[in-house]
């Protein structure tokens, strides 16, 4: 569905050239749901804007929905939907009117555009806001209107640039159930960007981590987490002495790495926390280091990013 070859985009600025996207190679098959994850300025929006023909690449190329973005931009536009990072409705336009216009822009007849607009307004809980100018909508309502505009023509390929930013948890859940339903019904391919790690983890089947305009990791959330050396096990003991003994005993078990002691806390990484735990507990008992608590955590996507770049995505994004 998407195929990019060394896709590159530079921006000339006063302080020199910004290389927003550097030789990106990405292939997305039909029906995939891919999340692009990366800190601010990683090049996510620039990538989407090139794939949606809004921005010509500096070098390299891409075919999207079977059309070349440079040679046949109109062909690409007919086959995709795009929800940008900004707000798509004109400030003095009524929400419903913009939605109908959007449908008409994709070639829908007037009656069909109206019918779909009404259905989307209801599903995205915008009924009450439909007859208001878009400046008079709340941030979340405006975002939902943007999303409705991206969905009205039921594209085969949908690009969503931070669709859930500004949405409350209820609207977020509602957004994803809608997108997933559309995907189930029409086989839509979805490429989205997000800063919400939990969201990428929960919704996307494939996560592409981007940093400084390059792909630094690509896989299912579980595969990516496999790159982090194991699960995090946190042990709590009654005293600092017990903690030291526990750390020593745990360190002797095969496979444990990154053992750290912090007061009465011991943290370590093991490949499969759930499988190692019984053995670990027996070893600690034998070493006479009684525990008051144990916790096993699967790695998060943030751990993945931290492992790959030495920086935390949370710090970068928040």
């Amino acid at each position: 569905m998407i195929h990019t070859r060394a896709l590159t985009r530079d921006f000339g600025t006063k302080s020199g050239t910004v290389q927003a996207v550097r030789g990106l190679d990405l292939d997305v098959g039909a029906g995939e749901l891919v999340a692009l994850l990366g800190p601010n300025g990683a090049g996510k929006s620039t990538t989407l804007r090139m794939l949606t023909t809004l921005l010509p690449p500096t070098s390299g190329g891409a075919t999207v929905a079977g059309r070349d973005v440079v040679a046949d931009p109109a062909g690409v536009r007919r086959r995709i939907g795009f929800v940008g990072q900004g707000h798509g409705a004109g400030f003095d336009q009524l929400a419903r009117d913009e939605l109908v216009t959007q449908g008409r822009c994709y070639g829908l007849g007037r009656a069909e555009a109206r019918r779909r607009a009404e259905a989307l307004l209801t599903e995205l809980e915008l009924d009450g806001a439909a007859d208001r100018e878009s400046v008079r909508l709340s941030g979340g309502q405006r975002r939902r209107l943007d999303i409705a505009m991206g969905l009205i023509h039921r594209p085969d390929l949908l690009f969503l640039d931070e669709p859930s930013t500004g949405l409350d948890p209820h609207s977020r859940a509602n957004l994803w159930s809608h997108v997933l339903r559309m995907r189930a019904e029409h086989g839509t391919t979805v490429v989205l960007t997000t800063h919400y790690l939990d969201e990428a983890d929960a919704v996307a089947e494939r996560v592409v981590v981007i940093d400084h305009g390059r792909v630094i990791a690509d896989g299912t959330p579980d595969e990516l987490k496999g790159k982090v050396s194991g699960d995090l096990v946190s042990l709590t003991t009654a005293t600092a002495d017990a903690a030291r003994a526990a750390a020593e005993a745990a360190g002797r078990l095969p496979g444990t790495t990154a053992v750290e002691t912090d007061g009465t806390e011991v943290r370590l990484r093991v490949p499969r926390g759930d499988a190692v735990l019984p053995e670990l507990l027996r070893a600690l008992d034998a070493a006479g280091a009684p525990l008051t608590g144990v916790r096993v955590q699967r790695p998060t996507l943030d751990d993945v990013f931290l492992t790959l770049t030495g920086r935390s995505l949370r710090e970068g994004a928040e």
Binding site: T53, R78, F82, G86, G88, G90, Y106
Partner: protein
């Protein structure tokens, strides 16, 4: 996609907010010409030449040209908030034809301008304006053609300049000389040679001459042909440039 259908879609979108508050929109750019009509035109009575004999017949066509200039040249301001918010980008990502995105907007501005022009002509009738009816119709068509050129250029500049304060400065720098060198306030025949020569380089001055001849009913006057040709050339050049810019910036 069919450009005609797309243009209609964009035109209808642009007309909607206008129709929701027609009076405010109409008054928006009408103030300047109306103030000139009320507070300046009376000065002309008693002046020598055609201007003094029938001040309305002479002055009103010039004011309509001024109206066309103000309504269309400032149109780019309407696009800037949409460029900033992402609404323009959203439309660019749709299959709508690039020229329709421009034409639909320009046609909306022309519609507003023609309504304003009709209001002004109608309002001047009780004060003794007696134009040729056919002439007025032709004059409005000519104004529309001028408006297509100026309006398109305005959107083009807005897309290039992108920020309001620069755009405002640019407009001021362009529209003031266009008005002063158009002969709408006083005849340019009174000007020293160099100033007259400058005014001949101003497309608006030719359109003003043509408007005056049309109001007087001299449809075959050479100034009509010249003014029409100038307006058509301006419109075509602007549309070619505008569509190209729209494609390139997309």
């Amino acid at each position: 996609m069919n450009t005609l259908r797309d243009t209609w879609i964009v035109y209808a979108r642009q007309m909607r907010p206008t129709l929701r508050r027609p009076v405010v929109t109409a008054l928006y750019s009408m103030l300047q010409p109306v103030l000139y009509l009320v507070l300046f035109a009376p000065l002309l009575t008693g002046m020598p030449g055609a201007m003094g004999e029938d001040p309305w017949q002479w002055f009103v066509p010039g004011m309509l040209a001024m109206l066309s200039l103000f309504t269309t040249a400032y149109a780019g301001f309407g696009l800037l908030p949409e460029v900033r918010s992402g609404a323009h980008e959203r439309l660019l990502a749709t299959p709508v034809s690039r020229s329709a995105l421009l034409l639909g907007r320009v046609l909306r501005d022309i519609t507003v301008m023609l309504v304003q022009a009709l209001v002004i002509v109608a309002a001047m009738l009780p004060f003794g304006l007696r134009p040729s009816p056919v002439g007025v119709l032709a004059a409005l068509v000519l104004l529309a053609v001028l408006g297509v050129g100026l309006g398109t250029l305005s959107y083009l500049f807005a897309l290039v300049v992108k920020v309001e304060y620069l755009f405002a400065a640019l407009l001021q720098a362009v529209t003031m000389p266009l008005i002063l060198l158009s002969g709408v306030l006083l005849p340019m025949d009174l000007a020293p040679g160099w100033l007259y020569a400058l005014s001949r380089a101003n497309p608006v001055s030719h359109v003003v001459d043509a408007e005056r001849a049309l109001f007087a009913g001299d449809l075959t006057d050479p100034s009509v042909a010249v003014g029409t040709a100038v307006a058509v050339v301006l419109a075509v050049v602007a549309l070619v440039l505008g569509t190209r810019t729209m494609r390139r910036l997309a």
